[in-house]
Amino acid sequence: MSTTMETTAKQEQAAANERLARTSRIQRFFNQATVRIAVLVIAFLWTLPTAGLFISSFRTEDAISSSGWWTVFATPFDFTQWTIENYVDVITTDGMGAAFINSLLVTIPATVIPITIAAFAAYAFAWMKFPGRDLLFAIVVGLLVVPLHMALIPMLRVFTALELNGTLLGIWLAHTGFGLPLAIYLLHGYIAALPSEMMESAAIDGASPMRTFIQLVLPLSVPAVASFAIFQFLWVWNDLLVALVFFVRDPSTQVVTSRLSEIVGSRGQDWEVLTAGAFVTIILPLVVFFALQRYFVRGLMAGSVKG
């Protein structure tokens, strides 16, 4: 009698366990599936706007203005709707090609020049003792969030007086100045984290501060330098405000962003021009971004708060 009761109790227990295991398995499967679908839907929604632009940029003027870009999926092999003429036109007659070159001329030096200046400053902040060090570095941290808008009117006056307005030198200097707080902050975070035993033994071996910097600190800081370089490259390439203020003396000195915003103003209905033009402006940052995403993310982690 008691044994049968015990067995039924055990059986019930086992059945209950089984049920529990099964429901949690079903639940887990269900969770997995819904999570998956949710993520896919979000990723799809986030990609859709760019995809629409990309597809449209290869459609003829007539096709773009007479039907939505999503209709191409009904007749993808109707080649009369496809063209690369939009790109040819926008690069030549709309000046996007020249603007692309200008963007490169602005961006590359404006990315490279701050690095050396910032690396020396970061090294001094991290490994040298001097009065006022903490105060000065606190100012750098504070400057990280100062809006560069604060600097525009005075800088414009100074640049006009020095005849720097509309010159490459002017915009390089401006971007160097605006990029420095982030550069010093990022590199400092990395350089200060180098092991102190290493720095001490370098000093004991008689290496001068300069030698330690060149032979030890700089080679070890390559990842941080790469992070900053990618960050600054994207920032300068994508900047509109600084370019509008300091670099539009005439149409020949326009970068891709200021050129594109002008096309929006003058030909805001001509989607064959706008879509192709927009794609020309975003293609290089996208390539850089996907190729070097790892470094970029690392830079972001180190605290990206730029003015």
Binding site: S67, M155, L169, L241, L274, S304
Partner: protein, 400 residues
């Protein structure tokens, strides 16, 4: 007595070890660097300079010149007695950086504050500067294309607050949810990359992308903008989304006795920024979520907590610091938003924001005093975040 024969230097480095040669080389190097900077400064400003020359001179002087400057000054510092050298060297390394920060950020910030007390475009050399005290801070100008004649400052305040609250909240919330969801599936990196991608796109590029989505064709013509196409397919009439500055949404309008209308067009602009920033929030938050110890999560599950409870009671408190950092970063960015409004509406239809207004005062109205006042408002708005960041940095430093 034994005379020590000085070994003949074999290579450049050994030559440079000799103090006199070292000194001469560093003085010459310093002089050359200074001359190169002066030459480059004049050459790069001239209109006749060929573009190839500009880029070559710019890169050579900008990189090599700076290195020569540092190296030669460092060698000159070596000539000082050791204690003095130790005291001076940090400032040599800091000088170019600090000079640039001072010239491009600190000095202009104070000058902008100063300018904001003057009317129009004060010229101090010619003595045509009219001091008007705080008048610029009354922000008297009314909107150029107002729906209702209203002082533009109130539209700006409303819009900037709306931008700050909505973009910061939506980006962080979406980023958090996606980070937690994505953390559980294998396709993680692909999905993450796609959501993160807009980070690389310029605000101008993003504006064109979304202008296309919001595009409006009159009734009866084929809608090629995605939003209107969906809207029409659902039975609506095509809308010029970016002009809808006061929409009465039944629930909200009724609740407020018909006093509160929704500036739908600003919300459409805000969506662009959320699209751009969610990926950033997701990536940073996702790293923090991965840092939540598994043991903690397991313990909670054993205690019978479900996933929702784990999300709210364990994950969110654990990564609160990160959420705050991401939030403030986005907040600062949103406060300064310019490009999107400039390209999409130029601030018309009551979509004006601080940074765009500052640009209009500066370039369209040529009113530097008024423009400076807007810049100062922007600056004042970030000061609390600035103080918070400095405090955080000090706290971290003390913990190390």
């Amino acid at each position: 007595m034994e005379s020590v024969q000085q070994a003949q230097p074999q290579n450049l480095r050994q030559w440079l070890e000799i103090p006199t040669i070292r000194t001469i080389v560093s003085i010459v190097g310093f002089a050359l660097a200074v001359i190169a900077f002066i030459f480059a400064f004049n050459f790069l400003r001239s209109d006749e300079a060929p573009i190839v020359g500009v880029i070559v001179v710019g890169l050579v002087v900008g990189i090599l010149g700076i290195w020569v400057l540092f190296l030669s000054l460092d060698a000159l510092v070596d000539l000082l007695p050791p204690n003095a050298a130790r005291a001076v060297r940090p400032f040599v390394y800091l000088a170019p950086g600090l000079a640039a920060l001072g010239a491009f950020l600190v000095y202009p910030a104070f000058y902008t504050l100063f300018l904001s007390f003057f009317a129009g475009r004060p010229n101090f050399q010619e003595g045509t500067a009219e001091f008007i005290g705080l008048e610029n801070y009354l922000f008297r100008r009314t909107a150029e294309a107002p729906i209702f004649s209203e002082e533009i400052i109130w539209i700006i305040v409303r819009n900037n607050l709306m931008w700050i609250v909505l973009v910061t909240f939506l980006s962080v919330a979406l980023g958090l949810v996606i980070a937690v969801l994505v953390d559980r599936i294998k396709l993680e990196s692909v999905a993450k990359s796609l959501i993160f991608m807009p980070m690389a796109i310029s605000f101008v590029g993003a504006s064109v992308i979304w202008r296309f989505i919001y595009y409006f064709q009159p009734l009866g013509r084929e809608q090629i903008g995605l939003l209107n196409a969906i809207w029409v397919a659902l039975g609506g009439e095509p809308q010029g989304w970016l002009t809808l500055s006061e929409v009465s949404i039944p629930l909200i309008t009724n609740l407020t006795n018909g006093t509160l209308f929704v500036p739908l067009n600003s919300i459409f602009l805000i969506i662009i920024m959320v699209w751009l920033q969610t990926g950033f929030a997701m990536v940073i938050i996702s790293a923090a979520v991965k840092g939540v110890p598994d043991a903690l999560l397991e313990a909670a599950r054993l205690d019978g907590a479900n996933e929702v409870q784990i999300f709210f009671r364990i994950i969110i408190p654990y990564i609160r610091g990160t959420l705050l950092t991401v939030g403030t970063t986005i907040l600062v960015l949103v406060l300064k938003v310019f490009d999107i409004v400039f390209v999409m509406t130029s601030g018309d239809f009551d979509t004006e924001v601080l940074a765009n207004r500052m640009y209009i005062e500066m370039f369209t109205n040529r009113d530097y005093g008024q423009g400076s006042a807007y810049a100062v408002i922007l600056m004042v708005a970030v000061i609390p975040i600035m103080i918070y960041n400095i405090r955080e940095w000090q706290r971290e430093r003390q913990e190390r």
